[in-house]
């Protein structure tokens, strides 16, 4: 069953002339992991904010079309209730620390205090989610004294603890180094396996290829491609729209132009696919000559 249903969504921020999203239609099944790619300014963040209810409730502006999450119409809910349905994690780990609390443990409990969860249940949920995100050993540290990767996992835990049905992540690894990015991706993959619906805007194509179920490409507020990662990430139009592609895809495309990659074979996205593809070429060549 589709958890998220978006039909012909067009949205314009106040004081802006052009819509940030145009005629976007999208359905996401329960437990699906959908990645959104696109250049900066393509509308990725706006789409994330819409799913999380901040468009239109926080940003105001003009929204046309339909947005339903778990059967509820976004226009007829209050933001304070909606945030329990859809959790939002975004780019800058530092801005997501509430500042209201002095330890990681209390920071994660902050959301539960706000919605009035009883103390015993609060402790159980906080400890559960700290174990899941691998930050149990940080419980007594100050959230501000952590590395970016650790802070981002605290931010993720602080949202997960509220048990949203849908988790929306807006470029959660863009400010992190490779180690921090891997930490965050691993947690998200695990969540997807546990059945949480995930929508994630992200630039890092190699990771998306490995983990996402489906990829949606946005450019200038419109969906320009949607489908299996292997299919969308090798779409020849992506570079024209300023969307990054993996080095494996790029080099195989150049090889194909020189006739060094079979014309009808799909281009690789991951290291494994590329290695297998090029190895096969070398072997056929070798076999043919023998």
């Amino acid at each position: 069953m589709a958890v998220i249903v978006i039909k012909n969504l067009t949205y314009t921020y106040p004081t802006m002339d052009h819509p940030a999203l145009r005629e976007v239609s999208l359905e996401v099944e329960a437990g699906e992991f959908v990645a959104i790619i696109g250049p900066n300014g393509a509308g990725k963040s706006t789409l994330c904010y819409t799913l999380a209810g901040f468009v239109p409730h926080f940003f105001k502006g003009e929204l046309q079309g339909d947005v339903y999450v778990a059967g509820q119409d976004i226009r007829h809910v209050r933001l304070e209730d909606w945030v329990l349905k859809v959790g939002l994690v975004f780019q800058n780990p530092f801005n997501q620390i509430s500042g209201a609390k002095f330890t990681v443990y209390e920071e994660i409990a902050f959301g539960l205090e706000n919605i009035g969860v009883p103390r015993e249940e609060m402790k159980r949920r906080v400890e559960e989610v700290m174990a899941l995100t691998g930050i149990a050993d940080l419980a007594d540290r100050s959230p501000y004294a952590l590395s970016g990767g650790q802070q981002q996992r605290v931010a993720l835990a602080s949202i997960l603890v509220m048990q949203p049905e849908v988790l929306v992540l807006d470029e959660p690894t863009s400010q992190l180094d490779p180690i921090g990015s891997r930490e965050v991706f691993q947690v998200i993959r695990q969540l997807a396996h546990q059945g949480v619906t995930i929508v994630m805007a992200e630039h890092k194509v190699e990771w998306i290829a490995q983990y996402a179920d489906r990829v949606i490409a946005l450019a200038e507020g419109e969906i320009i491609a949607s489908g299996q990662p292997a299919e969308v990430l090798t779409d020849p139009r992506l570079p024209e729209y300023g969307i990054g592609i993996s080095r494996y895809t790029a080099v195989a495309r150049q090889a194909a132009e020189e006739g060094l990659w079979p014309p009808h074979q799909r281009l690789p996205v991951t290291l494994e696919e590329a290695a297998a593809g090029f190895r096969a070429i070398e072997e056929t060549d070798y076999a043919r000559l023998r």
Partner: protein, 280 residues
Amino acid sequence: MRVCVENVHFEYPGGVKALRGVSLIIEPGERVAIVGQNGAGKTTLVKHLNGLLRPTQGQVIIGDWDTSQVEVHRLAQRVGYVFQNPDDQLFCRTVAEEVAFGPRNLGYAPERVHQLVEEALYLAELTDKAEINPYDLSPSWRKMVALASVIAMDTPIVIFDEPTTGQDARTIRRIEHMIEALRQRGKTILTITHDIDFCAENFERVVVMGQGQVLADGPKERILGMVEVLAQTYVEPPQLTRLGMQLGFETTVCTPAQFLETLRRRLGHYRANGLGRSEN
């Protein structure tokens, strides 16, 4: 202008030893990338090059200036430093004024300032945005403004701190064009980066740092294949280098051109001889 770092040690006031004996000579016109995990001492090292930090032991010489003898705002004539976050420096009402701030501080004549600003705006593809307020631009364009504002100072040495973090493919392309233009002008270019693919494709020399020391230093074709050394400081070889390794390439490849050339050679070799590869 030559950069000479001689056995530099540095200890922060809290007692953290960030550099433990770093020596490095960078010749004019070199393009050097410094890689390594967070806390390896990369930023501490480059902050020594324009005098923001001064060695507790050892010397840093820029041309004929010892950095411990010259004030930072004077060293700015020789070393330009683009900080990671553009928002840490933008304050003017227009992009053009922002870009002119540095050259004006250096005391250049108005005509030269004007010319340098025009050129920097052109290189950063900002010519049509010269009169816009930097804070009305997207973060990617703000990054380009920050780059232009340092390029316009026309220093022989330019340092980039994590230029690609958080940027999309298009912006990274723009930054690459800018680096290429600077190379053609004979500038020495240094970068600190976690983006190892960007490093492989735009720099010729790689310095690997870990625990305040230089672990390896040399041409990228030698360094980026040193899996064990890189792993000590949590760096993985670039994507194409790893692909080359998986395919059993004899040499370390860093760029698409190098990869394709090796591939062609190997295939051509089989085609010509029908041998040269072990059975498996």
